[in-house]
Symmetry: C2
Subunit: 227 residues, 2 copies
DNA sequence: GAGTGGTCTAGACCACACT
DNA sequence: GTGTGGTCTAGACCACTCT
Protein backbone atom coordinates (compact mmCIF):
# COMPACT_ATOMS: atom_id res chain seq x y z
CA UNK A 1 0.00 0.00 0.00
CA UNK A 2 1.47 3.33 -1.06
CA UNK A 3 0.15 6.61 0.29
CA UNK A 4 -1.57 7.05 -3.07
CA UNK A 5 -3.42 3.78 -2.69
CA UNK A 6 -4.46 4.69 0.82
CA UNK A 7 -5.61 8.13 -0.29
CA UNK A 8 -7.59 6.66 -3.18
CA UNK A 9 -9.18 4.10 -0.90
CA UNK A 10 -10.20 6.65 1.69
CA UNK A 11 -11.54 8.95 -1.01
CA UNK A 12 -13.52 6.05 -2.43
CA UNK A 13 -15.15 5.45 0.93
CA UNK A 14 -16.02 9.12 1.21
CA UNK A 15 -17.49 9.28 -2.28
CA UNK A 16 -19.46 6.04 -2.05
CA UNK A 17 -21.04 7.01 1.23
CA UNK A 18 -19.25 4.64 3.59
CA UNK A 19 -18.12 7.74 5.44
CA UNK A 20 -20.81 10.32 4.69
CA UNK A 21 -20.32 14.08 5.04
CA UNK A 22 -19.91 15.09 8.65
CA UNK A 23 -18.92 11.65 9.88
CA UNK A 24 -15.71 10.84 11.69
CA UNK A 25 -12.92 8.98 9.97
CA UNK A 26 -10.91 6.47 12.06
CA UNK A 27 -7.77 7.91 13.54
CA UNK A 28 -4.34 7.54 12.01
CA UNK A 29 -3.26 4.73 14.27
CA UNK A 30 -6.30 2.63 13.39
CA UNK A 31 -5.96 3.28 9.68
CA UNK A 32 -2.27 2.43 9.81
CA UNK A 33 -3.11 -0.94 11.31
CA UNK A 34 -5.91 -1.54 8.82
CA UNK A 35 -3.73 -0.77 5.82
CA UNK A 36 -0.67 -2.40 7.30
CA UNK A 37 1.28 0.82 6.82
CA UNK A 38 3.22 3.23 8.99
CA UNK A 39 1.34 6.10 10.53
CA UNK A 40 3.43 8.59 8.53
CA UNK A 41 2.14 7.04 5.34
CA UNK A 42 -1.47 7.37 6.42
CA UNK A 43 -0.67 10.90 7.53
CA UNK A 44 0.55 11.89 4.11
CA UNK A 45 -2.58 10.51 2.47
CA UNK A 46 -4.75 12.42 4.90
CA UNK A 47 -2.82 15.65 4.49
CA UNK A 48 -3.47 15.59 0.77
CA UNK A 49 -7.15 14.99 1.36
CA UNK A 50 -7.14 18.08 3.57
CA UNK A 51 -5.40 20.07 0.83
CA UNK A 52 -8.00 19.00 -1.67
CA UNK A 53 -10.83 19.99 0.59
CA UNK A 54 -12.39 16.59 1.34
CA UNK A 55 -11.74 16.32 5.07
CA UNK A 56 -11.04 18.53 8.07
CA UNK A 57 -8.73 17.59 10.90
CA UNK A 58 -8.35 18.85 14.42
CA UNK A 59 -6.05 17.60 17.10
CA UNK A 60 -7.88 15.64 19.71
CA UNK A 61 -11.15 15.96 17.80
CA UNK A 62 -9.94 13.78 14.93
CA UNK A 63 -10.76 13.78 11.24
CA UNK A 64 -14.17 14.42 9.73
CA UNK A 65 -15.53 14.39 6.21
CA UNK A 66 -16.36 17.94 5.20
CA UNK A 67 -20.04 18.71 4.93
CA UNK A 68 -19.69 20.39 1.58
CA UNK A 69 -16.37 19.80 -0.09
CA UNK A 70 -14.50 23.07 -0.60
CA UNK A 71 -13.38 22.60 -4.11
CA UNK A 72 -10.53 24.65 -5.42
CA UNK A 73 -9.55 25.57 -8.91
CA UNK A 74 -5.96 25.94 -9.90
CA UNK A 75 -5.16 28.13 -12.85
CA UNK A 76 -1.87 28.43 -14.55
CA UNK A 77 -1.16 31.94 -15.65
CA UNK A 78 0.95 31.57 -18.76
CA UNK A 79 2.88 34.31 -20.43
CA UNK A 80 0.92 35.67 -23.34
CA UNK A 81 3.53 34.68 -25.89
CA UNK A 82 3.44 31.07 -24.70
CA UNK A 83 -0.33 31.03 -24.54
CA UNK A 84 -0.57 32.06 -28.17
CA UNK A 85 2.23 29.88 -29.45
CA UNK A 86 0.82 26.83 -27.70
CA UNK A 87 -2.36 27.32 -29.68
CA UNK A 88 -0.20 26.93 -32.78
CA UNK A 89 -0.65 30.56 -33.75
CA UNK A 90 1.96 33.17 -34.61
CA UNK A 91 2.58 35.73 -31.94
CA UNK A 92 3.04 39.41 -32.69
CA UNK A 93 3.51 42.26 -30.29
CA UNK A 94 3.02 45.97 -30.78
CA UNK A 95 3.55 48.94 -28.49
CA UNK A 96 0.75 51.43 -28.95
CA UNK A 97 1.56 54.12 -26.43
CA UNK A 98 4.19 54.80 -23.81
CA UNK A 99 4.36 57.78 -21.52
CA UNK A 100 5.81 58.77 -18.19
CA UNK A 101 3.39 60.73 -16.08
CA UNK A 102 2.30 61.53 -12.56
CA UNK A 103 0.05 58.79 -11.24
CA UNK A 104 -3.59 59.78 -11.72
CA UNK A 105 -5.73 59.85 -8.61
CA UNK A 106 -7.62 56.62 -9.25
CA UNK A 107 -4.32 54.79 -9.67
CA UNK A 108 -2.76 56.39 -6.59
CA UNK A 109 -5.72 55.27 -4.54
CA UNK A 110 -5.66 51.79 -5.99
CA UNK A 111 -1.94 51.17 -5.63
CA UNK A 112 -1.50 53.19 -2.46
CA UNK A 113 1.09 55.54 -3.99
CA UNK A 114 2.36 58.82 -2.57
CA UNK A 115 1.34 62.02 -4.23
CA UNK A 116 3.83 62.99 -6.91
CA UNK A 117 4.79 59.41 -7.76
CA UNK A 118 5.71 58.94 -11.39
CA UNK A 119 4.41 56.01 -13.35
CA UNK A 120 5.02 54.59 -16.78
CA UNK A 121 1.83 54.02 -18.70
CA UNK A 122 2.03 51.49 -21.52
CA UNK A 123 -0.63 50.35 -23.94
CA UNK A 124 0.26 47.26 -25.94
CA UNK A 125 -1.41 44.82 -28.28
CA UNK A 126 -0.78 41.12 -28.54
CA UNK A 127 -1.83 39.46 -31.78
CA UNK A 128 -2.44 35.81 -32.64
CA UNK A 129 -2.07 35.07 -36.35
CA UNK A 130 -2.40 38.78 -36.98
CA UNK A 131 -5.71 39.14 -35.18
CA UNK A 132 -6.07 41.19 -32.01
CA UNK A 133 -5.92 38.82 -29.07
CA UNK A 134 -5.19 40.84 -25.97
CA UNK A 135 -5.04 44.51 -25.15
CA UNK A 136 -2.62 45.24 -22.32
CA UNK A 137 -3.04 48.46 -20.38
CA UNK A 138 -0.18 48.60 -17.92
CA UNK A 139 0.99 51.00 -15.23
CA UNK A 140 4.47 50.61 -13.80
CA UNK A 141 5.42 52.30 -10.55
CA UNK A 142 8.69 54.05 -11.33
CA UNK A 143 9.42 54.54 -7.65
CA UNK A 144 9.64 50.76 -7.33
CA UNK A 145 11.17 50.00 -10.73
CA UNK A 146 13.11 53.10 -11.87
CA UNK A 147 14.99 51.16 -14.54
CA UNK A 148 11.72 50.97 -16.48
CA UNK A 149 11.95 54.66 -17.38
CA UNK A 150 14.66 54.15 -19.98
CA UNK A 151 13.81 50.70 -21.26
CA UNK A 152 12.56 50.45 -24.82
CA UNK A 153 9.31 48.49 -24.82
CA UNK A 154 8.81 48.63 -28.58
CA UNK A 155 10.01 45.08 -29.15
CA UNK A 156 9.89 43.40 -25.73
CA UNK A 157 6.57 43.28 -23.91
CA UNK A 158 6.41 44.74 -20.41
CA UNK A 159 5.51 41.43 -18.83
CA UNK A 160 8.53 39.63 -20.24
CA UNK A 161 10.70 42.48 -19.08
CA UNK A 162 9.18 42.65 -15.62
CA UNK A 163 9.51 38.97 -14.75
CA UNK A 164 13.24 39.37 -15.21
CA UNK A 165 13.34 42.41 -12.98
CA UNK A 166 11.12 41.20 -10.17
CA UNK A 167 11.15 37.41 -10.23
CA UNK A 168 8.71 36.42 -7.50
CA UNK A 169 6.20 38.51 -5.73
CA UNK A 170 2.74 38.73 -4.32
CA UNK A 171 -0.05 39.02 -6.84
CA UNK A 172 -3.70 39.90 -6.62
CA UNK A 173 -5.68 38.87 -9.66
CA UNK A 174 -9.29 39.37 -10.56
CA UNK A 175 -11.59 38.49 -13.41
CA UNK A 176 -14.53 40.52 -14.57
CA UNK A 177 -16.52 41.69 -17.57
CA UNK A 178 -16.43 45.20 -18.98
CA UNK A 179 -17.57 47.11 -22.03
CA UNK A 180 -15.44 48.39 -24.87
CA UNK A 181 -14.74 52.10 -25.02
CA UNK A 182 -14.08 53.59 -28.47
CA UNK A 183 -10.28 53.20 -28.31
CA UNK A 184 -10.50 49.65 -27.04
CA UNK A 185 -13.04 48.83 -29.71
CA UNK A 186 -10.72 50.13 -32.40
CA UNK A 187 -7.74 48.20 -31.11
CA UNK A 188 -9.63 44.96 -30.58
CA UNK A 189 -11.55 45.32 -33.82
CA UNK A 190 -14.96 45.17 -32.22
CA UNK A 191 -17.74 47.68 -31.57
CA UNK A 192 -17.87 50.19 -28.76
CA UNK A 193 -20.12 48.83 -26.03
CA UNK A 194 -19.29 45.21 -26.80
CA UNK A 195 -18.71 42.91 -23.84
CA UNK A 196 -15.07 42.22 -23.07
CA UNK A 197 -13.35 39.83 -20.71
CA UNK A 198 -10.92 41.49 -18.34
CA UNK A 199 -8.15 40.18 -16.13
CA UNK A 200 -6.66 42.66 -13.69
CA UNK A 201 -3.43 41.95 -11.91
CA UNK A 202 -1.61 43.88 -9.26
CA UNK A 203 1.91 42.83 -8.34
CA UNK A 204 3.52 43.67 -5.03
CA UNK A 205 7.09 43.21 -3.90
CA UNK A 206 8.13 43.96 -0.37
CA UNK A 207 5.00 45.98 0.39
CA UNK A 208 5.40 48.17 -2.65
CA UNK A 209 3.14 47.85 -5.67
CA UNK A 210 5.29 47.27 -8.71
CA UNK A 211 2.70 47.23 -11.44
CA UNK A 212 -0.99 47.21 -12.17
CA UNK A 213 -2.20 45.80 -15.44
CA UNK A 214 -5.53 45.33 -17.12
CA UNK A 215 -5.58 42.58 -19.75
CA UNK A 216 -8.55 42.80 -22.04
CA UNK A 217 -9.78 40.04 -24.31
CA UNK A 218 -12.55 39.90 -26.82
CA UNK A 219 -15.87 38.60 -25.67
CA UNK A 220 -15.42 35.12 -27.05
CA UNK A 221 -12.27 34.50 -25.01
CA UNK A 222 -12.51 31.74 -22.40
CA UNK A 223 -10.21 30.96 -19.53
CA UNK A 224 -10.62 27.29 -18.88
CA UNK A 225 -9.28 24.76 -16.45
CA UNK A 226 -10.11 21.43 -14.85
CA UNK A 227 -10.04 20.12 -11.34
CA UNK B 1 14.93 23.57 12.19
CA UNK B 2 11.42 22.59 11.15
CA UNK B 3 10.49 21.91 7.54
CA UNK B 4 8.85 25.33 7.56
CA UNK B 5 12.08 27.02 8.55
CA UNK B 6 13.97 25.14 5.89
CA UNK B 7 11.39 26.00 3.26
CA UNK B 8 11.46 29.66 4.25
CA UNK B 9 15.24 29.72 4.16
CA UNK B 10 15.44 28.14 0.72
CA UNK B 11 12.76 30.49 -0.58
CA UNK B 12 14.69 33.42 0.81
CA UNK B 13 17.76 32.34 -1.14
CA UNK B 14 15.72 32.05 -4.31
CA UNK B 15 14.14 35.47 -3.82
CA UNK B 16 17.31 37.30 -2.91
CA UNK B 17 19.18 35.92 -5.88
CA UNK B 18 21.55 33.54 -4.12
CA UNK B 19 20.04 30.83 -6.32
CA UNK B 20 18.87 32.68 -9.42
CA UNK B 21 16.32 31.32 -11.90
CA UNK B 22 17.68 28.32 -13.77
CA UNK B 23 20.37 27.50 -11.24
CA UNK B 24 20.74 24.19 -9.47
CA UNK B 25 19.87 23.80 -5.82
CA UNK B 26 22.04 21.47 -3.73
CA UNK B 27 20.69 17.97 -3.41
CA UNK B 28 18.66 16.76 -0.47
CA UNK B 29 21.53 15.00 1.21
CA UNK B 30 23.68 18.14 1.19
CA UNK B 31 20.87 20.33 2.44
CA UNK B 32 20.06 17.86 5.19
CA UNK B 33 23.64 18.09 6.41
CA UNK B 34 23.66 21.87 6.13
CA UNK B 35 20.46 22.27 8.11
CA UNK B 36 21.26 19.46 10.49
CA UNK B 37 17.98 17.79 9.61
CA UNK B 38 16.84 14.45 8.26
CA UNK B 39 16.52 14.11 4.53
CA UNK B 40 12.76 13.54 4.87
CA UNK B 41 12.43 16.96 6.42
CA UNK B 42 14.28 18.66 3.58
CA UNK B 43 12.20 16.62 1.18
CA UNK B 44 8.98 17.95 2.61
CA UNK B 45 10.18 21.53 2.33
CA UNK B 46 11.20 20.97 -1.29
CA UNK B 47 7.94 19.27 -2.19
CA UNK B 48 6.01 22.30 -1.06
CA UNK B 49 8.25 24.56 -3.11
CA UNK B 50 7.45 22.40 -6.13
CA UNK B 51 3.73 22.69 -5.39
CA UNK B 52 4.02 26.43 -5.21
CA UNK B 53 5.82 26.63 -8.52
CA UNK B 54 9.22 27.86 -7.36
CA UNK B 55 11.40 24.89 -8.28
CA UNK B 56 11.39 21.88 -10.57
CA UNK B 57 12.78 18.53 -9.63
CA UNK B 58 13.85 15.55 -11.70
CA UNK B 59 15.39 12.35 -10.52
CA UNK B 60 19.03 12.22 -11.27
CA UNK B 61 19.02 15.74 -12.72
CA UNK B 62 18.35 17.31 -9.35
CA UNK B 63 16.47 20.46 -8.38
CA UNK B 64 16.47 23.74 -10.28
CA UNK B 65 14.89 27.14 -9.70
CA UNK B 66 12.23 27.63 -12.34
CA UNK B 67 13.17 29.98 -15.18
CA UNK B 68 9.84 31.62 -15.67
CA UNK B 69 7.76 31.15 -12.63
CA UNK B 70 4.72 29.13 -13.56
CA UNK B 71 2.55 30.93 -11.17
CA UNK B 72 -0.70 29.35 -10.30
CA UNK B 73 -3.86 30.83 -9.00
CA UNK B 74 -5.97 28.93 -6.55
CA UNK B 75 -9.63 29.77 -6.43
CA UNK B 76 -12.06 28.52 -3.93
CA UNK B 77 -15.41 27.83 -5.47
CA UNK B 78 -17.85 28.48 -2.67
CA UNK B 79 -21.48 27.61 -2.70
CA UNK B 80 -23.50 30.62 -3.67
CA UNK B 81 -25.38 30.73 -0.37
CA UNK B 82 -22.12 30.84 1.57
CA UNK B 83 -20.60 33.41 -0.76
CA UNK B 84 -23.47 35.77 -0.17
CA UNK B 85 -23.81 35.14 3.56
CA UNK B 86 -20.10 35.67 4.08
CA UNK B 87 -20.50 39.14 2.62
CA UNK B 88 -22.95 39.79 5.43
CA UNK B 89 -25.89 39.90 3.05
CA UNK B 90 -29.16 38.01 3.20
CA UNK B 91 -29.49 35.19 0.73
CA UNK B 92 -32.67 34.48 -1.18
CA UNK B 93 -33.30 31.89 -3.82
CA UNK B 94 -35.99 31.68 -6.47
CA UNK B 95 -36.80 29.09 -9.10
CA UNK B 96 -37.80 30.80 -12.33
CA UNK B 97 -38.34 27.92 -14.70
CA UNK B 98 -38.14 24.15 -14.63
CA UNK B 99 -38.83 21.80 -17.50
CA UNK B 100 -37.96 18.33 -18.65
CA UNK B 101 -37.09 18.18 -22.33
CA UNK B 102 -35.06 16.42 -24.95
CA UNK B 103 -31.52 17.78 -24.95
CA UNK B 104 -31.18 20.44 -27.64
CA UNK B 105 -28.50 19.88 -30.25
CA UNK B 106 -25.97 22.37 -28.90
CA UNK B 107 -26.18 20.73 -25.48
CA UNK B 108 -25.93 17.21 -26.89
CA UNK B 109 -22.80 18.19 -28.74
CA UNK B 110 -21.33 19.91 -25.74
CA UNK B 111 -22.02 17.19 -23.21
CA UNK B 112 -21.62 14.30 -25.63
CA UNK B 113 -25.14 12.94 -25.03
CA UNK B 114 -26.97 10.33 -27.08
CA UNK B 115 -29.85 11.44 -29.21
CA UNK B 116 -33.10 11.25 -27.29
CA UNK B 117 -31.52 11.95 -23.92
CA UNK B 118 -33.80 13.81 -21.57
CA UNK B 119 -32.52 16.72 -19.54
CA UNK B 120 -33.91 18.92 -16.83
CA UNK B 121 -33.54 22.60 -17.58
CA UNK B 122 -33.64 24.93 -14.60
CA UNK B 123 -33.40 28.69 -14.44
CA UNK B 124 -32.85 30.11 -10.97
CA UNK B 125 -32.02 33.42 -9.37
CA UNK B 126 -29.86 34.03 -6.35
CA UNK B 127 -30.36 37.32 -4.54
CA UNK B 128 -28.15 39.19 -2.08
CA UNK B 129 -30.11 41.58 0.13
CA UNK B 130 -32.94 41.36 -2.34
CA UNK B 131 -30.87 42.40 -5.33
CA UNK B 132 -30.15 40.06 -8.24
CA UNK B 133 -26.73 38.54 -7.68
CA UNK B 134 -26.45 35.49 -9.88
CA UNK B 135 -28.53 33.96 -12.62
CA UNK B 136 -28.14 30.19 -12.79
CA UNK B 137 -29.00 28.44 -16.02
CA UNK B 138 -28.60 24.74 -15.38
CA UNK B 139 -29.00 21.56 -17.41
CA UNK B 140 -29.10 18.23 -15.62
CA UNK B 141 -28.58 14.99 -17.53
CA UNK B 142 -31.50 12.80 -16.44
CA UNK B 143 -29.79 9.72 -17.82
CA UNK B 144 -27.09 10.21 -15.20
CA UNK B 145 -29.29 11.59 -12.42
CA UNK B 146 -32.85 10.26 -12.92
CA UNK B 147 -33.88 11.18 -9.38
CA UNK B 148 -33.77 14.83 -10.44
CA UNK B 149 -36.93 14.41 -12.48
CA UNK B 150 -39.20 14.37 -9.45
CA UNK B 151 -37.35 16.63 -7.07
CA UNK B 152 -38.92 19.96 -6.21
CA UNK B 153 -36.37 22.70 -6.79
CA UNK B 154 -38.60 25.53 -5.69
CA UNK B 155 -36.95 25.88 -2.29
CA UNK B 156 -33.62 24.06 -2.59
CA UNK B 157 -31.18 25.21 -5.25
CA UNK B 158 -29.94 22.65 -7.75
CA UNK B 159 -26.34 22.97 -6.64
CA UNK B 160 -27.12 22.22 -3.03
CA UNK B 161 -29.17 19.25 -4.14
CA UNK B 162 -26.61 17.94 -6.58
CA UNK B 163 -23.66 17.90 -4.22
CA UNK B 164 -25.64 15.54 -2.01
CA UNK B 165 -26.70 13.27 -4.85
CA UNK B 166 -23.72 12.90 -7.06
CA UNK B 167 -20.07 12.67 -6.31
CA UNK B 168 -18.02 14.11 -9.09
CA UNK B 169 -14.66 13.18 -10.35
CA UNK B 170 -13.89 15.79 -12.94
CA UNK B 171 -14.95 19.38 -13.39
CA UNK B 172 -14.24 21.75 -16.23
CA UNK B 173 -14.72 25.39 -15.43
CA UNK B 174 -14.34 28.44 -17.61
CA UNK B 175 -14.70 32.17 -17.26
CA UNK B 176 -15.78 34.53 -19.98
CA UNK B 177 -17.76 37.65 -20.79
CA UNK B 178 -21.10 37.67 -22.52
CA UNK B 179 -23.93 40.03 -23.39
CA UNK B 180 -27.30 40.18 -21.72
CA UNK B 181 -30.24 38.92 -23.77
CA UNK B 182 -33.66 40.41 -22.98
CA UNK B 183 -34.66 37.72 -20.48
CA UNK B 184 -31.32 37.87 -18.68
CA UNK B 185 -31.52 41.65 -18.60
CA UNK B 186 -34.92 41.50 -16.99
CA UNK B 187 -33.85 38.97 -14.37
CA UNK B 188 -30.59 40.73 -13.53
CA UNK B 189 -32.19 44.16 -13.63
CA UNK B 190 -29.86 45.54 -16.26
CA UNK B 191 -30.22 46.45 -19.93
CA UNK B 192 -30.15 44.07 -22.87
CA UNK B 193 -26.70 44.19 -24.43
CA UNK B 194 -24.95 44.93 -21.15
CA UNK B 195 -21.71 43.09 -20.44
CA UNK B 196 -22.05 40.18 -18.04
CA UNK B 197 -19.52 37.96 -16.32
CA UNK B 198 -20.08 34.27 -16.89
CA UNK B 199 -18.78 31.16 -15.19
CA UNK B 200 -19.51 27.88 -16.95
CA UNK B 201 -19.06 24.57 -15.22
CA UNK B 202 -19.40 21.06 -16.52
CA UNK B 203 -19.32 18.20 -14.06
CA UNK B 204 -18.46 14.64 -14.99
CA UNK B 205 -18.65 11.41 -13.07
CA UNK B 206 -17.32 8.20 -14.48
CA UNK B 207 -17.19 9.49 -18.06
CA UNK B 208 -20.78 10.71 -17.96
CA UNK B 209 -21.61 14.39 -17.85
CA UNK B 210 -23.88 15.02 -14.88
CA UNK B 211 -24.62 18.69 -15.31
CA UNK B 212 -23.73 21.80 -17.23
CA UNK B 213 -24.36 25.17 -15.67
CA UNK B 214 -23.90 28.75 -16.70
CA UNK B 215 -23.63 31.19 -13.81
CA UNK B 216 -24.14 34.78 -14.83
CA UNK B 217 -23.21 37.82 -12.80
CA UNK B 218 -23.69 41.49 -13.39
CA UNK B 219 -20.87 43.40 -15.01
CA UNK B 220 -19.49 44.82 -11.81
CA UNK B 221 -18.89 41.39 -10.29
CA UNK B 222 -15.25 40.50 -9.69
CA UNK B 223 -13.72 37.15 -8.89
CA UNK B 224 -10.58 37.90 -6.97
CA UNK B 225 -7.77 35.94 -5.46
CA UNK B 226 -4.12 36.15 -4.49
CA UNK B 227 -1.11 34.02 -5.15
C1' DG C 1 -5.27 14.91 31.87
C1' DA C 2 -5.57 12.59 27.75
C1' DG C 3 -6.32 11.75 22.85
C1' DT C 4 -5.40 13.24 18.43
C1' DG C 5 -2.84 15.01 14.68
C1' DG C 6 1.87 17.40 13.50
C1' DT C 7 6.40 16.66 12.89
C1' DC C 8 11.09 14.78 13.13
C1' DT C 9 14.63 11.07 12.72
C1' DA C 10 17.67 7.45 10.82
C1' DG C 11 17.78 4.19 7.86
C1' DA C 12 16.27 1.73 3.90
C1' DC C 13 14.81 0.48 -0.72
C1' DC C 14 12.96 1.83 -5.08
C1' DA C 15 12.15 4.32 -9.68
C1' DC C 16 13.58 7.13 -12.85
C1' DA C 17 16.70 9.47 -16.04
C1' DC C 18 21.04 10.34 -17.40
C1' DT C 19 25.65 8.26 -18.76
C1' DG D 1 25.80 1.81 -13.92
C1' DT D 2 24.94 5.68 -11.00
C1' DG D 3 23.00 9.67 -8.76
C1' DT D 4 18.98 11.80 -7.70
C1' DG D 5 14.45 12.33 -5.79
C1' DG D 6 10.21 9.41 -4.13
C1' DT D 7 8.54 6.83 -0.64
C1' DC D 8 8.17 3.81 3.37
C1' DT D 9 9.08 2.35 8.23
C1' DA D 10 9.24 2.30 13.31
C1' DG D 11 9.67 4.91 16.85
C1' DA D 12 9.60 9.21 19.24
C1' DC D 13 8.28 13.68 21.07
C1' DC D 14 5.46 17.68 20.80
C1' DA D 15 1.27 20.89 20.42
C1' DC D 16 -3.15 21.60 20.37
C1' DT D 17 -7.73 21.19 22.17
C1' DC D 18 -11.38 18.84 24.34
C1' DT D 19 -13.20 17.36 28.79
Amino acid sequence: MTYRDIKADILERILNGTWPPGSAVPNEQELAVEYGAARATVNRAMRELVDEGFVERKRKAGTRVRLSPVRQVRFEIPMIRKEIEEQGATYRYALIRSEVMLAPDWLRARLNLKQGTEVLHLVCMHFADGRPFQLEDRWINLAATPQGRDFDFSTVGPNEWLVQQVPFSDVEISFSATTADPEQAMLLNCRAGDALFRVERQTTWQDQVVTYVSLIYRRDHRMTTRY
